[in-house]
């Protein structure tokens, strides 16, 4: 039981670190990309419309329609390819790795524990942005991030105490 919990915690923390790296990679990608062409991409808007249609269909008798499910899968693939080719390939790879790690972490521990544990991504992101992108890192930023991190720790602590109290 404890071993499972530890594996979940480690996976969630690693997911946070990779997520932070992916965010910086996305920032670099979006700076290089042609922004107006991103916003006017017809395929992207079609994918968003399909998303909305599939989601709305959940409330109708078409909710188990295979055509809608196939359209949904195609839309997801399109959005991933859109991010890969128009924004940043490296960032998408990092993001997928981070999602997979978080996803597997959720198999071992509660969402309320796993999600706040990924909070280290804010520190990783701010540090890398400061070092590589020359972004400002003021005292206010540092104290804000520290408060967010502390808040995440309290969220985890609170969730753990809930788990213990339920045992």
């Amino acid at each position: 039981m404890h071993r499972k919990f530890d594996v979940g915690v480690i996976l969630a923390i690693f997911s946070g670190i990779v997520y932070g790296l992916a965010s910086v990679a996305f920032k670099q990608g979006i700076e290089i990309a042609n922004y107006s062409s991103l916003l006017t991409d017809k395929g992207l808007w079609m994918a968003v419309v399909v998303f909305a249609l599939v989601w709305l269909s959940l409330f109708t008798r078409f909710k188990s329609s295979h055509i809608l499910k196939i359209a949904f899968i195609i839309s997801i693939v399109y959005i991933v390819l859109f991010m890969v080719f128009k924004i940043s390939f490296f960032a998408v790879v990092l993001l997928v790795v981070a999602f997979l790690l978080a996803f597997f972490a959720l198999s071992y521990i509660d969402a309320s524990i796993a999600w706040p544990l990924t909070g280290c991504k804010y520190v990783v992101c701010s540090l890398i942005a400061y070092l590589l992108l020359n972004e400002s890192l003021t005292i206010i930023n540092i104290s804000g991030i520290a408060m967010i991190l502390l808040g995440s720790v309290f969220l985890v602590q609170g969730a753990e105490s809930v788990v213990k109290s339920l045992k």
Binding site: M83, A111, G151
Partner: protein, 162 residues
Amino acid sequence: MPSYTVLILVVISAILMGTFPIFFKQWNSVNIAPNYGTIGNCIKEIYNELFPLWTGPLVHGPKGYLSKEFWSEAFKYEHYSKIFDLIDGYLVTGLVTGILGYLIWILSLKFGEVSILFSITSLQFIATGILGYSYLKERLSIWQVFGMALIIAGVALIAPQI
């Protein structure tokens, strides 16, 4: 773009991002756990069914990829019914909120520093906590409420710098 518009967009994306783990967790407990046990078992089972189907022509020489037998067998609905069954309301809602939230955030990155905009997305923890409490009926301790208040205070410190 005005800074308050960017702030609103990032807050919306944070709420959407915070919603998706709740639905994934629900999908896991409703769809995966009763049918497969774990996600690993689910992937294994689907892999074991589809891998021999698609590598068959490599092993059985005469039945090549261009043969009629392969095409009629490879695209039979029964082989993919497990994948279609996995796509339920929880997965769709989780993916839609997660992907849209992330897309909005990526597109708003153009108008601010990543360290600030990313820190604001920590509001997703608040969304996850509140939804976990109200939707999954998870208990919310006083520490968690205090943690949420700290995160909001941290974001309030950072947000005016957009």
